[in-house]
C-alpha cells in the first residue's frame, strides 16, 4: 500500500461513515457536524488530487459557507434536547431498497467497465491557468458560465433576502 492509498482509504472511510451518520443521526446538529466532516474529507480528496484551488473553494464555500448556513438555520428552528422523529419502518425499508438497488447497479457497472488509463502525467494545476481559463472566451474558456454563475448568485442572494424578510402584515 502506498501513502496515497492509505490516505485515500482514510478519506473515503471518513466520507462513507460520516455520510451514513449524517443521514441517520437523530440529533440534527450532529448530523450537520458530520456533514462538515464529510465535506472536509472531500476537500482532502481534492488536495490529494492536486486540485488545491478546488479544495480551498470546497472548504470556503461548502464547509465555511453552506454548513454554517445550515447550522444557523438549525439554531433558528430547533431546540437543543429535541431528537428527530424516527422514520416509519416501511418507509425505511422502501428507501433502503431503492438506495441499495441503485448503489448495487452503479457499483456493478463501474466494476464492469474498463476505464482507459491515461498516460499523460500532470502536475498540479497552476492558479494562473485557472484564472486564465475562467476569464477567457475561447475554447476551454469559461467566461460565460462564470458570468452566469455570478448573476445566479446575485439573484439567489436577493431572492433569499426577500423570501426570509419579515413581512409587515
Amino acid at each position: 500500500m502506498t501513502n496515497n492509498q492509505i490516505m485515500f482509504f482514510i478519506f473515503s472511510a471518513v466520507i462513507v461513515i460520516f455520510s451514513i451518520l449524517t443521514v441517520t443521526s437523530r440529533r440534527i446538529l450532529r448530523a450537520a457536524t458530520f456533514l462538515l466532516f464529510v465535506l472536509v474529507s472531500t476537500a482532502g480528496l481534492y488536495f490529494m488530487l492536486r486540485f488545491n484551488f478546488l479544495a480551498a473553494i470546497q472548504l470556503t464555500l461548502y464547509a465555511g459557507g453552506i454548513v454554517v448556513l445550515i447550522i444557523f438555520s438549525i439554531l433558528l428552528t430547533s431546540q437543543v434536547g429535541a431528537k428527530l422523529e424516527l422514520p416509519g419502518l416501511s418507509k425505511k425499508i422502501y428507501a433502503l431498497i431503492a438506495a441499495a438497488a441503485g448503489a448495487a447497479l452503479c457499483i456493478w457497472t463501474i466494476l464492469q467497465y474498463n476505464f482507459p488509463r491515461t498516460s499523460i502525467e500532470s502536475g498540479r494545476t497552476s492558479i494562473d491557468d485557472i484564472g486564465k481559463a475562467l476569464t477567457s472566451t475561447g475554447k476551454y474558456g469559461y467566461a460565460l458560465p462564470f458570468e452566469v454563475i455570478s448573476i445566479l448568485l446575485l439573484a439567489a442572494m436577493i431572492g433569499s433576502i426577500v423570501i426570509a424578510k419579515k413581512r409587515k402584515d
Binding site: 465535506l39 438506495a99 448503489a103 445566479l152 439567489a156 442572494m157 426570509a164
Partner: protein, 105 residues
C-alpha cells in the same frame, strides 16, 4: 494516472455517498436534513467530476470547473432553500416535510 489509486475507487466512494444521500432524502422528515442529504448528493457528483478530470483527462480542466460551478449553484440553492425553510418555520412552527400539505385539496 494518479499513482496507486485507480479511478474505480473514487467512483465507488462517490456512488456510496450518492446513494446514502438518496436514502437520507427519502427517509428524513426534517427539511434541513433533507437539504443536507442533497448536499451529499451534489458532493458525490463533484467527486466524480474531479476524479474523471484528473485520472482520464489531466490536460484539461473541465471537471474542475464544473465542480466549481456546482459548488456555486449549491451555495445559491442552499441559501434560497434555507430562506424558504425559515419562512415555513414561521408559518407552521415546524419543518417536517409531511406537514406541508396546505395546498392539498
Amino acid at each position: 494516472m494518479f499513482e496507486g489509486v485507480p479511478l474505480n475507487w473514487f467512483l465507488i466512494t462517490a456512488t456510496l455517498m450518492f446513494f446514502i444521500g438518496i436514502y437520507g432524502f427519502l427517509v428524513r422528515k426534517n427539511l434541513i436534513t433533507m437539504l443536507m442529504s442533497l448536499e451529499l448528493i451534489l458532493n458525490s457528483v463533484n467527486i466524480n467530476f474531479v476524479a474523471f478530470n484528473k485520472l482520464l483527462y489531466p490536460q484539461h480542466l473541465e471537471g474542475m470547473f464544473f465542480t466549481v460551478f456546482i459548488i456555486a449553484v449549491a451555495a445559491a440553492e442552499a441559501s434560497v432553500a434555507i430562506a424558504i425553510i425559515i419562512n415555513i418555520y414561521r408559518r407552521l412552527v415546524n419543518i417536517d416535510v409531511e406537514n406541508m400539505n396546505e395546498m392539498k385539496n
